[in-house]
């Protein structure tokens, strides 16, 4: 093609693109103008005086609810890399089923006090062929004192840290198996929350953990600092920062531990999170160090796409890589809800690295599959299919 033909083609493309854009813009101008031809007249309304904070009606003062969940699954895969000589070598199959019932209660006698509880029992034919005893999953009361002090007392989960893939910042991760007292004073100590909680066997105040966290927003930047102390473990501090730039969250958590044995260690993450209408993308870098130097480094990247190809199927992919020993894991999966209450999942994990490396030893553990006891733990490559039925009541 001669130079002049290139120029003519380029001009034509530019011209048609400009016409297209102009045409679309033109079509968009004046849109909605028809609403002003005969609009409803402006009106003066009386102040209804409605208390919109009372979002739960009289019939919701005492609410019982819960759900029943049945999960079945099967896995096929190789516990070590398949050999072309004998494809059955290291091949393994597994299947499992588990059912769970959770009952919850919400009592809201007034706007300043409420109680929430949830209790669960499981039916796992692999271990015992009957329903177990009901366990307390959560049971706590909220109370607002003098419109200035918020208290939550009972068994509940508190979460610190910002990581979605690695979350070393969650210093409270063992706070949900016993009782916690949490107090916040937004009227005169805005952003400060204090905690005292027990974990495991609590015999004296020395078995309790004490924590405080402060959140601040400075120049559109989220800053947070937290401190946890337990007699047996020593001190742990968390510093967090987050800034939204061009619609993406950029964040970092740093945890420093000073143990009761005078040992210093730290770990942290730096990551990003970006969400579009049907797409989520996030990534994190994890690093840990002791007094003798760097002890661990990992990378993680995850992607989630909702309604792929305009179907009702969601796709997700996650990749984690250890920078220390070269091991890693890749998992891709799809989720589909063909019927109300029914969700099907298909996952394909691949674990790589030498025997004894981090990801080969750890494998992939998913909390839902963990219940099945046929999880992907221990597989190099596998295919897991699960079917979940969940009915709320």
């Amino acid at each position: 093609m001669s130079k002049s033909r290139y120029a003519a083609a380029l001009a034509a493309i530019t011209f048609s693109a400009a016409i297209g854009a102009f045409g679309q813009e033109e079509a968009a101008q004046g849109v909605l103008d028809e609403l002003f031809d005969q609009p409803v007249s402006d009106t003066v309304v009386s102040d209804t005086g409605i208390d919109h904070t009372d979002i739960y009606g009289p019939d919701e003062r005492l609410v019982f609810g819960g759900y029943f969940r049945a999960l079945g699954g099967a896995i096929a895969g190789y516990r070590d890399w398949p050999s072309l000589d004998d494809l059955s070598d290291n091949f393994d199959l597994g299947a499992g089923v588990v059912a769970e019932t959770v009952v919850s209660i919400d009592a809201r006698p007034s706007s300043i006090a409420s109680i929430h509880g949830s209790f669960g029992t499981k039916f796992d034919p692999a271990s015992e062929f009957n329903w177990g005893k009901f366990n307390i999953l959560e049971l706590y009361g909220d109370y607002i004192l003098a419109d200035a002090m918020f208290f939550r007392v009972g068994q509940f989960e508190s979460v610190w840290g910002q990581g979605r893939i690695f979350n070393p910042g969650n210093l409270m991760d063992d706070s949900d198996d016993s009782f916690t007292i949490r107090a916040a004073f937004p009227a005169f100590l805005k952003g400060v929350t204090t905690y005292a909680f027990g974990s495991g066997d609590v015999q004296s105040t020395e078995d309790l953990s004490y924590a405080a966290k402060m959140d601040l927003l400075v120049l559109d930047t989220y800053l947070s600092g937290g401190l946890l102390y337990r007699y047996a473990d020593g001190y742990a501090g968390l510093w967090s920062i987050k800034k939204v730039i061009l619609g993406a969250d950029l964040f970092s958590d740093v945890v420093v531990r000073y143990s009761a044995a005078d040992e210093l260690s730290c770990e942290g993450i730096a990551g990003f999170f970006k969400e579009w209408d049907r797409l989520r993308l996030y990534g994190e870098y994890y690093v840990a160090a002791t007094e003798s130097g760097l002890s661990d480094q990992k990378l993680g990247l995850a992607l989630g796409v909702k309604d792929i190809f305009k179907t009702k199927i969601d796709f997700a992919m996650k990749w984690e890589q250890s920078l220390d020993d070269g091991s890693g894991i890749w998992i891709g999966g799809i989720t589909w809800s063909p019927l109300k209450y029914i969700t099907a999942n298909i996952g394909l994990p691949v674990v790589y690295g030498d025997v004894g490396t981090y990801y080969v030893d750890t494998g992939y553990v998913d909390t839902e599959d963990e219940d099945l006891e046929v999880g992907l733990d221990g597989y190099r490559v596998g295919l897991i299919v699960t079917l979940l039925m969940k009915i709320s009541f």
Partner: protein, 258 residues
């Protein structure tokens, strides 16, 4: 002779810039009036928002939320009432920042107030009162008839980067109420059109009765006709009840979000 020409030229220049200054001052005054008519500075305002989003081509989703606003401190709190699956989920705005509470993860997420509300064309920042006089300056004005309304049309450019859109075109009826808005990108692409055909007066201030928003970035050609995502917002049951300070706190949001 030369002097006379110079004097004439100077007086035209001075006269022109003086007229532009007057025009600019009038536009700024109009923007202040627009803002003051919808700002509830002496009390809290709360209301129920029904947000109906219609995707191009058909499917419709409805969100109902309770909105609590304290204009003098630039705060708002949103609690989702419907769909039932999202009931109790909430948003708390402090300044330009927004906290989202996720009852499942038991955690707060700090994010930008510019983002879409429940994935609709309505943005979190649209719960705010208008602050055109603070965030924008008028660069041009004209008169235009918009259906039954005689309007002043102002072309605005942002004074800061905290706003959702760098350029806005406003149609302001003679009573000082914004009837139509076009939001533009920096390059001048039309992003969103909002129509507010009717208002309701509560106490001495105004709230929209209904708003229709068209998202020009979300469209499909259906039967040869361009269809855009369209969001209709209806505001009802306004209340001027004074609310406790604790309403605008993360602790309160967490308490009601479950």
């Amino acid at each position: 002779m030369k002097r006379i020409f110079t004097l004439i030229a100077l007086s035209i220049l001075v006269g022109g810039s003086s007229a532009r200054a007057q025009e600019s001052a009038a536009s700024a005054a109009l923007l202040r009036k627009v803002d003051s008519l919808v700002a509830f500075m002496d009390t809290d305002v709360s209301a129920e928002y029904r947000i109906e989003k219609r995707d191009p081509g058909g499917s419709t989703s409805i969100t109902v939320a309770a909105m609590f606003r304290r204009d003098r401190t630039n705060q708002f709190l949103i609690l989702i009432l419907e769909p039932v699956s999202d009931k109790g989920k909430g948003y708390l705005k402090e300044g330009d920042n927004l906290w989202l509470y996720d009852p499942v993860g038991k955690s707060f997420t700090f994010t930008s107030a510019k983002e879409r509300f429940q994935n609709s064309s309505f943005r979190n920042s649209d719960f705010n009162r208008f602050n055109f006089s603070g965030d924008y300056r008028a660069v041009a004005n004209s008169r235009e008839q918009l259906g039954k309304f005689s309007c002043t049309v102002l072309n605005l450019e942002a004074r800061n980067d905290r706003v959702s859109f760098p350029k806005v075109k406003l149609w302001i009826s003679d009573d000082g109420l914004v009837r139509k808005m076009e939001d533009y990108s920096l390059s001048g692409q039309l992003m969103r059109t909002t129509a507010i055909p009717s208002y309701q007066k509560v106490g001495s201030r105004w709230l929209p009765l209904s708003m229709v928003i068209v998202d020009h970035l979300k469209f499909r050609s259906i039967g040869g006709k361009m269809e855009y995502e369209r969001t209709t917002v209806t505001i009802s049951n306004p209340s001027l009840n004074k609310l406790p300070d604790s309403t605008y706190t993360k602790e309160y949001l967490e308490k009601v979000s479950r």
